[in-house]
């Protein structure tokens, strides 16, 4: 009852977009005020973040702002957070985080939030971006990673079927994809020298028009990869590809090319074959845990390492597997969460 009341209160405050009256009568302590800066609306990670506080019975007041994928709104958010003098800032995604908290080597105190502690989530490559090291940010922030280590991803693909050639279609404008391709190439070469069967990585960039990647060019690129003889298509953690996942995975399926996704959406809501991910919801909860460390246990954010959840989720898209005729190995089948609308439920 108490928690529901508190949640109601939080929502009220949120609607008013103002400071909650200090007389939150049932809370002996003033709720912590957390400024949540989102990139593309309320989703699983934000929900996980919020639910953690509810479950732990920690009184919080969430001030929620959505940039709607518009970079221009972010300086306003910085100013607002500073003006409200919130207890903690939560940033969602690479862009929001880098714009609001600044890169580790560019600490512009005016443009960024520096004195207020902050936690970030869903940042693909925090290392070398917002933080210099995953063990410590060296400043007033900490956060979580959400990408499964590339080596683990490769092992997953190899456990499905041994591969000789891995194909990647990527957006040349996003750094994430490039980084992923470089890592894949290195792993492919390394496993070749380790006596295991190595693999090659073939990557093709989508066409760019007027400084924007062209979704229509995706199927052509997939066809090129198929012609080049790739056994598996890898979908990097890339916002453009994520948005256009139906085009990408649809094209791949049409050409009977199995796909592995580094994110959950291509598998859950599109036609990628399978993926190994940390669920956004879990990532959000872990981020909230780190916020708790800062707010309640008064641990300095720079002493909190940046890491990922312990539990890996393997998501398997069964209709796609059937269409491909490429059935998952029994072991993977036992471990995976299976998306199968034919079964009427997701297990």
């Amino acid at each position: 009852m108490r928690t529901r009341l508190r949640r109601l209160l939080a929502i009220l405050c949120l609607l008013a977009a103002s400071v909650a009256p200090a007389g939150a009568a049932d809370a002996p302590a003033r709720p912590f005020r957390i400024y949540m800066a989102l990139w593309r609306g309320w989703e699983e990670a934000a929900q996980g973040f919020k639910d953690y506080f509810t479950n732990q019975n920690i009184p919080v007041e969430l001030i929620i702002r959505d940039a709607g994928q518009d970079k221009g709104k972010l300086p306003e958010f910085v100013a607002e957070a500073k003006r409200l003098n919130v207890d903690l800032v939560f940033t969602w995604g690479t862009t929001v985080t880098e714009e609001m908290l600044g890169r580790f080597d560019d600490p512009d105190t005016d443009a960024h939030i520096t004195s207020i502690p902050a936690v970030f989530a869903i940042v693909s490559q925090p290392l070398g971006g917002v933080v210099p090291s995953l063990t410590s940010s060296g400043r007033n922030i900490t956060g979580t990673t959400y990408l499964v280590p590339t080596e683990t991803q490769v092992n997953l693909i190899q456990s499905y079927r041994p591969i000789k050639r891995l194909g990647v279609v990527y957006n040349p404008l996003e750094r994430n994809s490039r980084v992923a391709i470089d890592e894949l190439t290195a792993i492919g070469e390394k496993s070749g020298t380790n006596g295991k069967s190595g693999f090659q990585v073939t990557s093709i960039a989508v066409e760019v028009e007027d400084g924007k990647p062209k979704p229509a060019s995706i199927p052509g690129k997939v066809a090129e990869l198929k012609k080049a003889g790739v056994d598996f298509l890898y979908i990097p953690p890339d916002t453009f590809l994520n948005v256009n996942r139906d085009i990408l995975t649809g094209a791949a399926l049409e050409m009977l090319l199995p796909t592995f996704a580094a994110g959950e959406n291509p598998v859950l809501t599109s036609k990628a074959l399978f993926g190994g991910v940390y669920r956004y919801y879990t990532v959000g909860q872990l981020t909230a845990y780190k916020a708790e460390q800062i707010l309640i246990h008064k641990i300095n954010p720079k002493d909190i390492p940046i890491d990922a959840p312990k539990r890996l989720s393997i998501i398997l898209n069964m209709p796609v597997a059937r269409q491909l005729g490429l059935y998952p190995p029994m072991k993977l089948l036992g471990l995976a969460e299976i998306v199968d609308p034919a079964e009427g439920k997701r297990k």
């Binding site: 069964m318 597997a321 059935y327 998952p328 036992g334 034919a342 079964e343």
Partner: protein, 696 residues
């Protein structure tokens, strides 16, 4: 040279204990095993069914997702962990509805397919179907898809597994029975010699004296039993005779001093001197009490003590591996070998002074003195933190071990008459070997059930029991003999006798290297490398060594005695041991290693007693000058060099050649040294000329 004066008695008691103990144990074991077998089979069926159900559920789930049975992928990875986790399951297979094998792990397709294709599983497709294919029980469960049964899953249970398990249990029972048998005999032997044969022998000695007219001694007081009462009455008879003599003496004195007739006085004087000539009575009027000490008195405490030490035989290096902590500058193997080497070193270092102490203070006191460090060592070994303190505790145990064993040896030497000394030392060897069989066998079983640490506690308890026996049963009055302490220079002069040094260097030392390096150190480590062997197996295999020694040494001793061919036996023994260690060259399986262990036992059984028996021949003058005991003690001391370097040498070989290679390398060392001795032994010649040669 007969090994053991109590041997005939020992064997008779063994037969008795065997007849009493073995038939009932055998009967019970037989019944229990049958019961167990009957219980095990349904248990295994149940397990096979459970495993089958789990696998069936997974496969049906896959089929439910629209994967055709033939399209199942990664079945090897799916089946193999199940097979390795369940040793009784030999194979797993999936067949389609026509009985064709689609997936199979653990058995040959040709063996199963003919059977599957002709069997109609559909009849009984509700429940699992059980059929027997050769040595396997095939449990068949249907795999259901949306349209009905699409195929079957087969779980193959190995019937040999039941047999294997039963055999294992039977062997376990046999080991325990053998050990109980030996322990029972040791106790019986102790009771019989202490309570019956010992007192009887004293009575015999006193009777012997009385037969010669000597009434000056009586027997030591016996216990309150039939024998004791007999001894008591016998003593009463002697005292009565003594009393009669006193009365007679008094009467004669009275006659001599008071009789008026001189001729009568003279006659009485004659009679008196005649009586005094024919009979002897104690002067004080109290017959001297004879307490015969026998070598066997100490046998049971010694047995228990050595038992305690041998209990850790089969797992010592494994325990050290668990306690491992790096020591700078030493390889892992070296660190594991170190406690064994240190133990041997301390025994070697302490033994001479222990022998000295035993002769000065008496065996009983030194035995009790030695039990303190030994018990503490055993106990602290059980709670050791890591290899550092463990080495210390082993050293402490070694000090105790040296004191106790030296006390026993000196006791035996003191109580036995010179000519029977060799025989009496057989009591020592016999007790040590029997304890070795029992300790090794039981130690493995205990360690497997209770862990290493608890087993060390039991060792400590056994040592305490040995101490109590000594404390309660051995009279504090101990015979003491003057101990001839040889000077160091004299001992070193022994080495100038080339026959003696050759014996030490090329026979005694390599045999110890093989014992400590191979048997104590490498065997447990190598045996446990095979995942299918457990500690009990290791112990059972290791028991074969003392058993081989026990069986062969009396034979070798008799052979050496009758033929005088001692050097030859020592040489052949050495070569057999060396050859055994070289066996892993041909095969590295368990049976080969077992054979190597047996050959080592044969080797030591053949050579051990002739080695000692050679000494009087080889070192005739030295034995005369400094005493045979000291020469033997020096041989013991010198051969300990081999005991110390054995494990270290083996540990040095492991990083170079691996475990199997280290055995072979050790074998090369032992073999070549033994070969040198074999060649030299031809030059030994026979006994008598040595005397001439050395008396220049």
């Amino acid at each position: 040279m007969t090994l053991d004066s109590t041997r005939p008695l020992f064997i008779r008691l063994l037969l008795l204990a065997f007849m009493v103990l073995v038939p009932p144990v055998g009967l019970l074991a037989h019944g229990a095993l049958e019961e167990f077998a009957q219980g095990l089979v349904p248990e295994m069926d149940k397990k096979g069914e459970t495993v089958g159900r789990d696998l069936t559920a997974s496969i049906e789930r896959a089929i439910g997702h629209g994967i055709p049975l033939t399209g199942l992928y990664g079945m090897d990875d799916f089946f193999s962990p199940v097979l390795s986790a369940n040793p009784e399951i030999r194979y797993l297979s999936v067949t389609d509805h026509e009985g064709r094998v689609l997936f199979l792990n653990g058995a040959a397709r040709e063996m199963l397919e003919p059977f599957y294709t002709v069997t109609d599983f559909e009849v009984e497709s509700r429940r699992s179907h059980k059929s027997i294919i050769g040595d396997f029980i095939d449990l068949t469960q249907p795999l259901r898809g949306k349209v009905g049964v699409v195929g079957h899953l087969h779980v193959g249970i190995d019937q040999n597994y039941v047999r294997g398990r039963l055999l294992e249990i039977a062997v376990d029972i046999a080991v325990v029975t053998l050990v109980s048998l030996l322990v029972a005999v040791e106790i019986l032997l102790f009771v019989v010699t202490f309570n019956v044969t010992g007192p009887m022998r004293v009575v015999g000695m006193v009777i012997d004296k009385t037969r010669r007219g000597d009434f000056s001694s009586a027997c030591g007081a016996g216990a309150d039993d039939e024998v004791g009462r007999f001894v008591h009455r016998f003593n009463a008879a002697i005292r009565y005779a003594d009393d009669l003599f006193r009365r007679l003496e008094a009467y004669m004195d009275e006659v001599k001093s008071a009789h008026f007739d001189k001729s009568v006085v003279e006659q009485v004087g004659n009679i008196e001197s005649r009586v005094r000539f024919l009979f002897r009575f104690s002067r004080s009027g109290k017959p001297e009490v004879i307490n015969e000490h026998q070598a066997t008195d100490i046998r049971l405490p010694l047995f228990l003590f050595v038992f305690a030490e041998e209990i850790s035989r089969s797992f010592m290096p494994l325990y050290v591996r668990d306690l491992y902590a790096p020591i700078p500058g030493l390889s892992t193997e070296m660190v594991i070998a170190l406690p064994i080497a240190v133990f041997m070193m301390f025994i070697a270092a302490v033994s001479p002074s222990a022998a000295l102490a035993a002769s000065r203070k008496g065996s009983r006191q030194v035995f009790l003195m030695g039990l303190f460090p030994a018990t503490i060592g055993f106990f602290m070994s059980a709670v050791a933190y890591n290899v550092y303190d463990f080495i210390v505790w082993r050293a402490v145990t070694a000090i105790g071990y040296a004191l106790v064993t030296m006390a026993c040896q000196s006791y035996i030497a003191q109580v036995s008459h010179q000519q029977k000394r060799a025989q009496s030392l057989g009591v020592y060897v016999g007790a040590v070997l029997t304890a070795s069989i029992c300790g090794t066998g039981i130690g493995g079983v205990l360690a497997e059930r209770m862990g290493y640490r608890a087993t060390f506690i039991i060792a400590a308890l056994l040592a305490v029991v040995a101490g109590l026996l000594i404390y309660r049963l051995m009279g504090s009055a101990q015979p003491r003999t003057e101990f001839q302490t040889p000077r160091k220079r004299q001992l070193l002069a022994l080495l100038r006798n080339w026959r003696f040094s050759a014996l030490v260097l090329f026979a005694a030392i390599p045999s110890k290297i093989a014992l400590t390096g191979f048997f104590f150190f490498l065997v447990p480590l190598t045996l446990l490398q095979d995942v299918s062997t457990d500690l009990g197996d290791v112990a059972r295999i290791m028991m074969l060594y003392p058993i081989a020694v026990v069986l062969l040494s009396p034979l070798a001793a008799r052979l050496a005695d009758q033929t005088g061919w001692k050097a030859g036996l020592v040489a052949i023994g050495g070569l057999i041991g060396g050859a055994g260690l070289l066996l892993p060259l041909y095969s590295s399986d368990l049976d080969t290693l077992t054979l190597a262990i047996v050959m080592l036992g044969v080797s030591h059984g053949l050579s051990a007693s002739p080695q000692l028996a050679m000494i009087p021949d080889l070192c005739w003058t030295e034995c005369r000058n400094m005493g045979q005991t000291n020469v033997l003690a020096f041989l013991r001391l010198a051969e300990r060099v081999g005991s110390v370097i054995g494990p270290l040498l083996a540990a040095a070989f492991i990083p170079l050649y691996g475990y199997g290679g280290a055995i072979i390398a050790l074998g090369v060392v032992v073999m070549s040294m033994s070969a040198v001795f074999a060649l030299l032994s031809f030059a030994y010649g026979s006994g008598p000329h040595i005397e001439a040669e050395l008396s220049e």
